[in-house]
């Protein structure tokens, strides 16, 4: 059924919930099951806003248009419902949760996915966690550190992908996961994501990035360019290369 898109965004307009200024001015995008897409675009163009809206951030309001996930309208769904339905957002700026260890955090997140009355098997969980950390080149002791508290930029990003590996999403949104990672870490994380994609070829990935480098490892099928709250160009991987060479100048004159 790869012809029915897993996600379809139609003419979405959005603004900050308690302000009037519109940030997204009509975004259209379709993601087919198992595809890898990338969105690139200048700072402040609305990439993170789009990602947060997809994850259900209460701070933004969709004023027009529609978002359907697996054929269903999800605009009214709470973030936890969307998460349970398989949507995952790797944050551009991961949030600190002092006093809560990564292990505890992930255990709670996975437990909340269990059916009513179901108990997460703690031994399986532990094995899985260790295996995933190894896959992402993380030391086992990391599991006991409080979530993002005092983490370096790179550690935060790696932790996002660890969560993605544990929660096994069907739609993974990666918002600038590459920024903050050193060259070696970037490769490890990209390899990890590729591995997840091999495990589940149906997993759809939307990568938000400023750099071609990540896309060398995580090869997108489609690349889109966002400028001033709109997708102004879509194409194959060659689009990213053009941007690398020429920048966004030619798009800035496009009508918003």
């Amino acid at each position: 059924m790869s012809d029915t898109p897993i996600l379809s965004i139609r003419d979405v307009h959005a603004k900050v919930a308690d302000e009037d200024t519109e940030i997204l001015h009509g975004v259209d995008l379709e993601l087919g099951k198992g595809e890898i897409h990338a969105i690139m675009g200048p700072n402040g163009s609305g990439k993170s806003t789009l990602a947060k809206i997809l994850a259900g951030h209460p701070g933004y309001e969709v004023t027009a248009g529609s978002i359907t996930y697996k054929g269903e309208d999800i605009l009214e769904a709470e973030p936890d419902e969307r998460s349970k339905a398989g949507i995952f957002l790797a944050f551009q700026y991961p949030v600190e949760i002092p006093g809560v260890s990564i292990a505890n955090f992930l255990r709670t997140a996975l437990q909340s996915r269990e059916e009513e009355g179901g108990e997460l098997d703690l031994f399986d969980f532990q094995d899985e966690l260790l295996a995933r950390m190894e896959l992402l080149g993380m030391d086992a002791s990391f599991a006991e550190r409080p979530v993002n508290d005092g983490f370096s930029g790179g550690e935060k990003k790696r932790n996002e992908i660890l969560q993605m590996a544990m929660l096994r999403p069907e739609l993974a949104l990666m918002d600038e996961t590459d920024s903050g990672l050193d060259i070696d870490a970037l490769q490890v994380v990209a390899d990890g994501v590729n591995k997840l994609h091999q495990e589940n070829p149906d997993m759809t990935v939307l990568i938000i990035t400023h750099y071609q480098r990540l896309l060398n490892y995580l090869k997108p099928h489609f690349v889109h360019v966002m400028v001033k709250g709109k997708l102004v160009r879509s194409g194959g991987p060659e689009v990213a290369e053009e941007l690398e060479a020429r920048g966004y100048e030619e798009f800035k004159t496009v009508e918003a």
Binding site: A55, G59, P79, D80, V95, I97, T108, L110
Partner: protein
Amino acid sequence: MPQNDTIQDLGLDEYQYHFITEDEPVFRSGRGLNEKVVREISAQKDEPEWMLEFRLKALEIYNAKPMPTWGGDLSNLENVLDEIYFYVRPQEKMERSWDDVPPNIKETFERLGIPEAEQKVLAGVGAQYESEMVYHSLKKEWDEKGVIFDSIEDGLKNHPELFREHFGTVIPSADNKFSAMNSAVWSGGSFVYIPKGVELDTPLQAYFRVNQEQMGQFERTLIIADEGSKAHYIEGCTAPVYSTESFHSGVIEIVVKPGAHFRYTTIQNWSNNMYNLVTQRALVHENATMEWLDGNLGSKLTMKYPSCYLMGEGAHGSILSIAYSGDGQHQDTGGKVIHAAPNTTSQIVSKSISKGTGRSTYRGLCQVHEGAINSKSNVECDALLINDTSRTDTYPYIEIEEKKSNIGHEATVSKVGDEQLFYLMSRGMDEAEAMALIVRGFIEPIAKLLPLEYAVELNRLIELEMEGSVG
């Protein structure tokens, strides 16, 4: 099902524990506090003359002292005090039936997964069952080591000299209005003595002892940790203590002799009508360590400031507390450290959580006397607000007479952030689960010091509380 239980089902003798209605004043002192009541208490307990005098003197002091005007709102307390019975014989506390326990309390017990027999004890309608066995085997170990762990009444009877030497020396009756009240009408509580050099691995739990005498409204505890000893005492439990009484005023006195190490842990969760005014203090001698670990939940108003008087060189005191105030509740808590000798060190860490219209106040005193050179104290108080209607205040009093000392104070107030909630919810937790996880993380530095079963119960309790905070 508990609802259908009768007194017979509980295996209690119906005649002995018959129901008494409000109008039958058998076994009860009259309402209010007066000399007659005090004499009656002392006579009932068959006390030595000096104790009766001690009580009567305390009553005079109580009458002479005005109600405190600082701290929480005590304006309605006089009315409450006129209405209460200052002495109720222990067996009378069994008079309530399970049917009288409000459904919400029962539901909380259920959801906390507390066994039925224990639920009844907590609700004050049953006697202690299972812990008997555990208690007896531990008791044997304690007896062999010369450890005394008795009710305060038995302490006075069986160890008169040791008792009299220390009783009322840490907290004199005249210390404050409520210590005077407690000194006049105390009943119930523990007497503990740890002999020189004795170290106990298993904590002394007051819980094991409550069948001997139900926890009193005016409990009085005296603990002496002799030189070089080491022990941990635990009082209370996280389940809500249901009581029709609306007033609790305890006095806890602890003497930590040179080189000894003592930890006192309290977790209390009073019903929402309760005024909880407790004085707890330790005298800490040379190179000794005292640790208060204090968790306050529930009650209408709690005023409680565990304190350490660091009397000998090298003494260390630490006061770690967690306070939770829900709707309509006020936790006015904190700690006091008095540095009265050189090279003494202290630490206060206070974590409060306010939800709904709850209010948490940190009130602390750090005093360094002249000559207490090289003393070090560090105070940290962190408040977490759940809702916009929640409130917190901080009153740190610092009095330093010695220049060569080092005092640090740090206070933070944080609100559960929208970004934090979104982050957790985007991982699949619902709002209440997310909130509970944030709160648990907030108190983690203190909760991790609790014995496991208490920490687990505390976590479950927080989850229950957070369910009510959403929407």
